[in-house]
Subunit: 109 residues, 2 copies
């Protein structure tokens, strides 16, 4: 028990759920908003900005990178993170495809 039964769902359902899961944490939302707001690729500032430990921020960045929504570029001794515009748009498009499935017919309620 306790293990999500991915094998009984479609690839699409698993993929969409995974995208939602990566975004399902306020720190990761905050990280994305901060990167966007700075119009630049900040990195260590996030630790000071958010008040979470460096290890924690690094872990969140790793998860965001795992779906490609951000990219990290090494610049000297620091790493510059930025949004991957294409992935960002693709995720938005996928969410909208899901939400546009909606039909206006309800047999009850």
């Amino acid at each position: 028990m306790g293990l999500t039964k991915s094998e009984i769902f479609t690839e699409e359902q698993n993929r969409l759920a995974l995208l939602f899961k990566i975004l399902a944490h306020p720190a990761r939302i905050a990280i994305l908003q901060y990167i966007i707001g700075q119009k630049a690729c900040i990195c260590n500032d996030l630790v000071e900005e958010l008040g979470l430990a460096q290890a924690t921020i690094s872990q969140h960045l790793k998860e965001l990178k795992s779906i490609g929504i951000i990219q990290g570029t090494i610049e000297g001794k620091s790493v510059c993170y930025c949004i991957d515009e294409n992935v960002w748009k693709k995720i938005q498009a996928d969410f909208n495809i899901f939400f546009n499935q909606e039909v206006k017919v309800n047999k009850c309620c």
Copy 2:
């Protein structure tokens, strides 16, 4: 440790993360798609359709209800579930507001 530090984030960030979290499970995606696909408010069928235990489905339905995206109406001895059109649209709008923040300027990457 292990507890999300909600107090250090904005209400908006916490709310958005919560919405993503509720949708971050393939069973809940599948439930929503099934309800939409049937253009009706099914209930116990989900147990047979998805192959998860009745208690498990009931728990997922409870979570979906918690953000109002579905509604349950008692009809005799069964409960008919359907999408709440307004909440559905509101969530889609909130996601799009988030995704439309994107700026095209990247100082690195």
